[in-house]
């Protein structure tokens, strides 16, 4: 069966999120090995977690009573 346009846009968004997370991880590694203040590492970790929860875990689905998958 062919992949629908909704799925294509979801996969595309998933790819963008993946790239964002990869870039943030790269920055995190660079900052970490150069012993920068922990607050920067905390900020990056919180941002990465927020991105995963919002776009991969679809947190907002919980607040919609009945919705398709």
């Amino acid at each position: 069966m062919k992949t629908s346009s909704k799925a294509v846009s979801e996969i595309r968004r998933g790819m963008i999120v993946f790239v964002v997370l990869a870039v943030l991880t790269g920055i995190e590694y660079y900052v970490g090995v150069h012993e920068a203040p922990n607050v920067i590492l905390w900020a990056i970790a919180l941002l990465k977690a927020a991105v995963v929860i919002q776009f991969y875990m679809h947190l907002m689905r919980v607040f919609r009573s009945q919705e398709e998958h």
Binding site: T25, G32, V52, H69
Partner: protein, 189 residues
């Protein structure tokens, strides 16, 4: 009544309730990981364990990539692409196993301390061990979903198990998002 016999309306209602239950479980589990994170800073303060930085970055990248494929698997089954769903689920499973091999098989062996060598060892093995246990249960969950997928148990309208598995897997990734900098990057040697 099985999910196949249930009306679509009733099924969606059940899924809405299931979602709340899953999130409550995730939140309760997050408290346990939060406690481990606090323990790390309480016992080690601004010191960090001497760990292989390259290996840390590799296992982090592997888990990150697995989350992408898990998301892809969910999108594929929602679109009715069973083959794409099975392939992505299988890749996620393989990456999960690769993460376990990296942490348990390599990092635990390479670490210059054991679990009983003071606070450093206790914190490192407890944090990575508890997380690895969750990855292992995630891999088992993925295997069950993959097997049921092979049998054709999921459809674009009815695939709650896939959604639950994906959310659990992403949660395990979120935990590592905090554990990785706390163990490998924050503080000095």
């Amino acid at each position: 009544m099985s999910t196949h016999e249930m009306s679509l309306e009733a099924y969606r209602q059940r899924v809405a309730t299931n979602r709340i239950g899953l999130w409550l479980f995730i939140i309760s589990d997050a408290f346990m990981f939060g406690a481990l994170l606090i323990t790390r800073f309480y016992l080690l303060g601004d010191r960090r364990p001497e760990l292989d930085q390259t290996l840390g970055l590799i296992v982090t990248s592997v888990l990150l990539t697995s989350s992408f494929f898990m998301n892809r698997a969910e999108a594929m089954i929602a679109a009715g692409n069973r083959r794409g769903f099975l392939t992505s689920t299988l890749i996620t499973m393989v990456l999960g196993i690769a993460f376990l091999v990296g942490v348990i098989g390599f990092e635990w062996r390479l670490a210059p301390f054991g679990p009983a060598d003071g606070a450093e060892g206790a914190v490192f093995y407890m944090m990575t061990g508890m997380h690895a246990f969750h990855v292992l249960t995630g891999v088992i969950f993925l295997f069950v979903v993959f097997r049921n997928g092979l049998k054709g148990h999921y459809s674009p309208e009815r695939h709650w198990a896939v959604e639950a598995c994906a959310n659990y897997w992403h949660f395990v990734d979120v935990v590592w998002i905090f554990f990785y900098p706390a163990l490998y990057l924050m503080g000095t040697l």
